[in-house]
Symmetry: C2
Subunit: 238 residues, 2 copies
């Protein structure tokens, strides 16, 4: 099998720095975790918050701390620092090779979609962001790693897209239509979801948007791990 992970990420219109932070860390027992945080508001202040949360979570995961405990610790640290005045959403998607599962940790009102073939489940149980109070519990979902599994995670910029024009995006329906038509790579799926949101915002995103897609394939290929990044730099050159 092969796990493929793709991210597409854009800043709010006319803001150079995205308030969303996404990083990847290798887990000590094998496998890796993708950590995505969205700091309150946008621009530099939001970036500082989401970077702080991601750094905290990543350093704990690298030490072997469990995902839920790492999220909990980041929330307590944020609450202590900001006295509940600043909040931050958090999603962790971990490929845990010890248990053979994908572990999803969520402190984010935005739902997570889990697709198996054409069956699409929406995990939308109420979930509150980090930093809102003491003892913020993350929601944990554990799923066996199996071929044809697709998981879609995003920040609230995707759900806000089009709202100022009264044309909010139906994320589930959009995922469903893309998956029905084709067997998209995770990058194609992430790109199409982001493009739909940006189009609903008339090419001027009203918020930072990040889309993260994981896909498990039955592909038998070489044993090479690959990573690629593309980073447009004109807009943020100082």
């Amino acid at each position: 099998m092969e796990v493929q992970i793709a991210v597409a990420k854009v800043s709010k219109y006319a803001v150079s720095e995205s308030g969303d932070t996404l990083e990847v860390v290798e887990r000590p027992g094998g496998g890796l975790s993708v950590v995505l945080a969205d700091g309150q508001t946008s621009g530099r202040g939001a970036k500082a918050i989401s970077q702080m949360v991601v750094r905290k979570v990543i350093s704990l995961l690298a030490e072997g701390v469990r995902d839920g405990a790492a999220a909990h610790a980041a929330s307590d640290a944020l609450f202590t620092d900001k006295q509940g005045k600043v909040i931050c959403t958090l999603n962790i998607a971990s490929l845990d090779l010890n248990s053979g599962t994908i572990v999803l940790t969520r402190n984010n009102p935005a739902p997570v979609y889990i697709c198996r073939g054409e069956q699409i489940d929406c995990i939308e149980e109420e979930s509150i962001p980090l930093g809102t109070s003491r003892n913020v519990r993350p929601l944990i979902t554990e799923i066996a790693i199996e071929p044809a599994l697709v998981i879609v995670i995003y920040t609230d910029g995707l759900t806000h897209a089009g709202k100022r024009r009264g044309l909010p995006m139906d994320v589930g329906a959009t995922i469903s239509s893309i998956i029905e038509d084709q067997d998209p790579t995770p990058q194609v799926l992430a790109d199409m979801l982001l493009a739909e949101a940006v189009s609903l915002d008339e090419n001027r995103p009203a918020d930072d948007i990040s889309v993260l897609v994981l896909k498990v394939t039955s592909r038998v290929g070489d044993n090479v791990r690959r990573m690629s990044l593309r980073l447009p730099i004109d807009g943020i050159m100082r």
Copy 2:
């Protein structure tokens, strides 16, 4: 402009865990750093060393510490911990958007190639790994970000490829032949270099091999940042 970064990474034959660790971190002032370390020997022990070095460097870079100082600190920490008995190579490639440069930090006998069009320069000034003594100095090279720049960085598995058969790989000549024939994406270049090395080792790599390629293109596209990862999991499933 756009900066594209690609990585191809394989473990030593019959060893499930690569002793090489590569991670990416966003820099506080904008831009990002790619950190690659190769711990002495292979397997779990080497992995623990390279992970420790990468974690140390990344946490310092995230705090705004300069690349050279972060490498120096990681070397001191490793020397203190292991009394000079364990060494680890380190390369940092940073996209520094404040200065508009790519900053290359090297504590690795393996050279770095810098290509501009068909001109290929090899940076092979003597450079020693971290942890060998107190006061190990990294070599720093700073290059303006400009279109058609290609940088190739790798761990010593690439230079060792084929040596047991007396057919060592000529990395510079291989890069040159790939670049002359086509204008490869960084992923294609990384994949081809890795494939050549694995082939010289008769499909049984004698060491962990990691290849990192950065490319600057003049492409004018959307403002979307993209990342994709591919992770074969059969071999390392427990």
